[in-house]
Each structure stands twice: as C-alpha cells, then as structure tokens.
C-alpha cells in the first residue's frame, strides 16, 4: 500500500534516470522492440486501413481509397449521433467524477489515521471488471425486478415501474451513474496522492500570513495538485471517450441508438459488418479527436498555470 512517504521517491527516480545516451540505447532496445510490436504496428496498420477499402464487399482485399472513408464519416448521421452520445457521456461522467473525487480526497486527506483503510474501501469498485459492473447496474435498474423501482414503489414515489434503460434520457443517466460509481475512486486516489505531496509547512506559512481556507487551497493545494489533476483528467477523458464495455453490456447502444458511442459503432462496423476500412477510419478519427482534446487540456491546465505560479 502506498503511503505519503512513498510518493516523493517518484521524483528521485526521474532524476537518477538521466544517464548517457549510449546506455539508453542498450537498455532501451528490448522495450523499444516490444513497443514497436504491440503499439506501433497496430497503429500504423489501423491508419493504413483507414485510407483503404477492405471488407466483405471486396473479399478482404486492401484497396487504397485515399480520403474516401473520411468523407463517408462526415455524411454518416450514425457516426454524428455516436459522437454526440460519447461527448455527453464523457463530459457528464468526468465532471461528476472530478467533483466527487476531489471532495472525497479533500475530506480523506484530513484523516491521518485510517487513510489506508479508507483508500482500500473506496477503491473496491475500481477493481471490479466493467462488464460485471454493467450487469450489476442493469439489474439494479431492471424495470421488473430492479431494486430501484422496488424501493421507489415501496416509498409510493412511483405508481408504475420506470423502464430506466428503455428511454434515451434515463438510459444515458444510468450509464453515467454506473461509470461515476466505478471510476470516481480512481480520481479520488490520484488526487489524494497529490494532496499528500503538499508540504505541510507551506500551509503553516499561509496561516502565519493570516490566510484562511481559500488562500490555502488556491495558492498551495491547487498548484501542487495540478499535475495530478492533469494526469487523472487525461486518463479519464481517454477512457470515457472510448467507453465500450459498459454501454455494450447495459444498453447495447439502445434505445433507438441513443446511447451508441463511437467505440460501439466502430466495433460493429469492423467486426459485425466486416467493413474493416471504414471501421478503422472511425477509430482513427476518434484518436485524432482525443489528441486534440489532450493537447488543449495540457495547454489550458499545465502550460497556463506554469506561467501563473
């Protein structure tokens, strides 16, 4: 279990890692080969496929089509609605996760004893496989046998059961809820680590200057927390934007395609419609969007504040 003391050595590893370039070459070789095989090859191949036609219609021959697939993306209403659903899902779930996660982390950092226990308990949902969580939540919100409808009816708040996963708005709400439940702990743990890296004497300095809660947060906590916020945000944005298992298991993208995310659509295009070129183009488009978002986040959060502080 990591504790406050464990966090600091991370910085030391980074400094001791600066060795001569010839050493890097030698020690880095196995890693480089591994990376090339498992990361570079699939990416290059996917990009190549996205510029070609390959699939059921042409007996899986790779035929160069230039920007054909990307042109098709622009006129594909299903892709547009997938992008919309993905964006709604990402923004709502990540926002909630950060609000709740930061709140929990601030509260937990006040505890000196029992922090390890709190962390372990909160982390439990994060350790479960998403597909299992998806099944769990779809039972909780099942209209006939689900506990939510049962409780609401017992409390006379509901007359007849609600088909939570059967209407677009509530289905998206349940998906967001399940995601928040599962991944808030991740945000919480990362931010808690960030809070623990703040040197306590800085707070004392502010106290001596007569500063209260807000100056402490604004001028001490936040600057130290920013790199952690950035890391957690990038992780969460990428994961939320690429959400697949939760949606696939809970709603299958329904009702009426209202919760079909880009990942689910590209999986179907590639694996079920066997339209491999077009499916790859969807994935490449998604990667591009994520890159833009990540760079924008970096500029906004890290670069700008590096100047301010």
């Amino acid at each position: 279990m990591a504790t406050a003391q464990d966090v600091k050595p991370v910085a030391q590893v980074r400094t001791s890692g600066e060795m001569g370039s010839h050493q890097w070459g030698l020690f880095g070789l196995p890693a480089a080969i591994l990376l090339l095989l498992v990361v570079a090859y699939p990416i290059v191949r996917t990009v190549a496929l996205s510029f070609s036609d390959m699939g059921l219609s042409n007996e899986f021959q790779m035929e160069w089509t230039g920007l054909g697939n990307f042109r098709r993306l622009f006129s594909d209403s299903r892709f547009a609605s997938g992008l919309k659903a993905t964006t709604v899902f990402t923004i709502t779930s990540v926002t909630l996760e950060f609000v709740i996660g930061l709140g929990l982390a601030l509260a937990a950092s006040e505890f000196v004893r029992g922090r390890g226990l709190i962390r372990s308990i909160f982390l439990a949902p994060w350790t479960l496989p998403t597909a299992i969580i998806a099944v769990l939540w779809s039972w909780i919100f099942n209209d006939q046998y689900g506990i939510v409808n049962g409780l609401l009816q017992k409390a006379h708040l509901l007359e007849s059961p609600i088909a939570w996963l059967g209407t677009p708005g509530t289905a998206m709400g349940v998906l967001v809820l399940a995601d928040v439940w599962k991944t808030t702990p991740f945000v919480f743990v990362v931010l808690l680590a960030g809070l623990q890296s703040v040197p306590q004497d800085l707070y004392e300095a502010i106290e001596m200057d007569g500063g209260g809660m807000w100056p402490k947060f604004r001028y001490v906590t936040l600057p130290f927390l920013l790199p952690f916020l950035f890391i957690a945000l990038i992780f969460r944005l990428i994961q939320a934007f690429a959400v697949f298992d939760l949606v696939y298991v809970m709603t299958g993208g329904g009702p009426g395609g209202a919760t079909e995310t880009v990942s689910v659509y590209s999986y179907r295009t590639y694996m079920r419609y066997l339209d491999i070129g077009y499916g790859s183009a969807q994935v490449v488009a998604m990667i591009l969007i994520l890159c833009i978002v990540a760079i924008a986040m970096y500029q906004l959060l890290v670069k700008r504040h590096e100047r301010t502080f």
């Binding site: 059921l56 219609s57 007996e59 899986f60 299903r78 209209d143 006939q144 007849s160 059961p161 088909a163 996963l165 059967g166 209407t167 677009p168 299958g252 993208g253 329904g254 009702p255 009426g256 395609g257 209202a258 179907r268 694996m271 079920r272 419609y273 066997l274 339209d275």
Partner: protein, 366 residues
C-alpha cells in the same frame, strides 16, 4: 456452441467420441447472446484460424459467412433422404447463391400463445387481438407481450406484423428495399399503439425471457414468443400448462399470417484441417436419435418434418426467412434503431419507415 445449460451437448459429444474413433470433438461453449457468438466466430475467421471446425450457426449468419468465404460447401454431402425430410425453408435458410452451407438441426418460428381460460377463440386479426386483450386485461395482467428491446428479436416481431399487413422489407435476390410503404407505416403504428394500452410501457426493454417469465406468472393474456416456451411451461405442469393455447401470428383483414423463421444448424469452417471428421460429427448429431434427445431436454424443435409436433407444423411450414444478404447484420441494425426510436416516441412511424428505407437503400446500392 450455445451455453450447454442442460448438458445435452456434452453428452452427445461424449457419445460421438466413444462411438466414432478418431480425433476427438471438443465442445466449446460461447456466450448466451447470439450476436456475441457470431462475433466470436468472425474473430476466429478473420484471423483465418481453425479454432472452430464446426460452427453452430444461426440462419441469418449464413449469407455473411458464406460471402466472406469462411464456410465449406456442404451441397454434395447432404443425403437425399435428409433433403426430403428437412423443412424446405430451413434448407433454403442454409443456402447462399445456390450452395448449401449449413445442415439444419432445429427450427423456430414466432407463435402466439394465449390463455385458454380467458380467451375462447384465438384471434386471427390485429383488431381481434386488440379487442380480446383489452377485454381480458386487468390491473395485474396485461393484454399482449412481445419483444421490444432494440435487438434482433424486435426485427422478428416487426416482420410478422409487417408481413401480416401485406408489406415487405428487402428482396434478397434483387437486393431491393421494399420497406417504404403504407403497410410498413401501419405495422409500426400498430406496434406503437399496443404500448401502454395492451402492452406494458416497459415492453420496449423486453427480450424473450422477460416476456416468458411474465406470461408464465399469469401476468399476460397473449404472448408472442418461440416454441420453446411451450415445452418449458408444460414441463412445469400445473394449472398454467392446462390453460395455454398456441396460434399463428395475427394479420390484417384479407392478409395472411406469416411467422419469422429462426433456426439453428451446423456449418463447417473452410479453415478446418479435417473437414471429413467435422462432417462425420455434423451428420451424427443431426440424426433423429440425437435430435430427439436435444428436443426432450432443451425443448427445441428439430427441423425434420417427421419430428415436428402437429400443433407447430402448419406454423413452421408457412414461416418465412429473413433476407439472405451478406449485409444482414447492418440492415437489421438500421431497422432496429429506427423501430426502437419510433416505439420510444422519438420519431413518428412515417419518419422511421422513411429513415430506415433511406439508410438500407444506401447500404445495398453498392
């Protein structure tokens, strides 16, 4: 294979391995959801792997798998007496461009279950069904249950209604989209009209088992489902079993009743290293003796005419298969999305028919 809940497949494989010396056949159980199993096979085929020599195959996969060149041609292997015994529509469902790729094993078709204690004569038309359902439903009991979730089951339900109104979806041979019609709008409108009146609002989230459970617990007058429900209800016996009747799907005045054909059979992978041994197993497992064992333990109905229970035979013989086009999965998804959008009130029936037609036409024009 499907998950082997009853253990019958395990027993049959063991029986084959002990009576037919040679490379042993191994049973691999897949997930319950059939489209996930379809993807499981696709993954193996895309890698040109021989992980599966034998494919337990839904009729709607045939065109795609065969067009992709993943299945072995079985035309010459089929015995003449089998050809005569097996339901013609099931054989047809295993064919692509004139060649047989799948040996039929079990057949399925949509049927209408009703409560004989509440309904004297089963309805024949949509109006009769609505009228009787309204008259017999109570606060605890809905009139009519069907499968309304956005999935393949919704397409099978919709096709029965569409065909019942005299409309059609796609013509497999000319690849023409026939959906844009008055009949299709009527069909969507009728299904939508049942929600909240004779069908529960949550019907748009139901799949087969949810509807069966409700019906079996006495919470509905009519149920649209497959023949397996009959076996399951009768196996439990009791009052419910004595009060269940089976009828063909309803239709519009002056039209015919048509069921959607479902059905499972065995195909052989083109990447199989030992297709002869694979065929040996397929032939063994589709003999009447083995099919009977599955019929008894699982409730499935064999596709051999000689083995089909009398009450289901006329319904099965008049059943229609879904379009045999390689792009079936995509065409079905388009239809499901628009239907689901119409049923949940996001678009009108006309918009759904127009939208689905437009997208399907775009899909098939190339």
């Amino acid at each position: 294979m499907e998950p082997d809940g009853t253990g019958v497949w395990r027993d049959l494989v063991a029986k084959f391995n002990s009576s037919h010396p040679g490379a042993p056949v191994r049973l691999i159980e897949g997930p319950t959801a059939t489209d996930t199993r379809e993807d499981m096979y696709s993954t193996a085929f895309l890698a040109r792997g021989s992980s599966y020599d034998i494919v337990y195959c839904d009729g709607i996969w045939i065109a795609k798998f065969a067009a992709a060149g993943w299945l072995a041609d079985l035309t010459a292997r089929l015995r003449e007496d089998d050809r005569r015994d097996i339901l013609p529509v099931e054989l047809q469902a295993g064919e692509y461009e004139g060649k047989l790729y799948r040996m039929p094993a079990f057949t399925d078709a949509g049927v209408l279950y009703y409560r004989t204690d509440l309904v004297k004569e089963p309805p024949e038309t949509f109006e009769e069904l609505t009228r009787i359902a309204r008259a017999s439903q109570t606060g605890e009991r809905w009139g009519y249950l069907w499968q309304g979730q956005q999935y393949e089951g919704l397409v099978t339900v919709f096709l029965e209604v569409l065909w019942g109104f005299g409309g059609d979806w796609i013509d497999s041979s000319s690849r023409k989209v026939l959906l844009d019609s008055r009949e299709a709008v009527e069909a969507v409108t009728w299904l939508k009209g049942t929600i909240g009146t004779i069908s529960p609002p949550a019907v748009t989230t139901y799949t087969e088992e949810a509807t069966r459970n409700n019906f079996q617990n006495g919470r509905a007058v009519f149920l649209r489902n497959w023949p397996y429900v009959w076996t399951l209800i009768n196996r439990r016996g009791g009052e419910m079993a004595a009060n269940i009747g089976v009828a063909p799907p309803v239709h519009a005045e002056g039209e015919w009743s048509t069921s959607t054909l479902g059905g499972w059979g065995f195909a052989i992978s083109r990447f199989s290293r030992d297709p002869d041994r694979a065929w040996q197993f397929v032939e063994f497992v589709t003999r009447p003796q083995q099919l009977r064992e599955v019929q008894q333990r699982q409730g499935r109905i064999p596709s051999r005419r000689s083995m089909i229970p009398g009450r289901f035979l006329p319904i099965l013989e008049s059943a229609r298969m879904r379009p045999a086009i390689p792009e079936y999965a995509q065409a079905s998804d388009i239809l499901q999305r628009w239907l689901s959008a119409a049923l949940t009130g996001r678009v009108t029936a006309e918009e759904a028919v127009k939208g689905a037609t437009r997208e399907t036409w775009q899909l098939l024009k190339t």
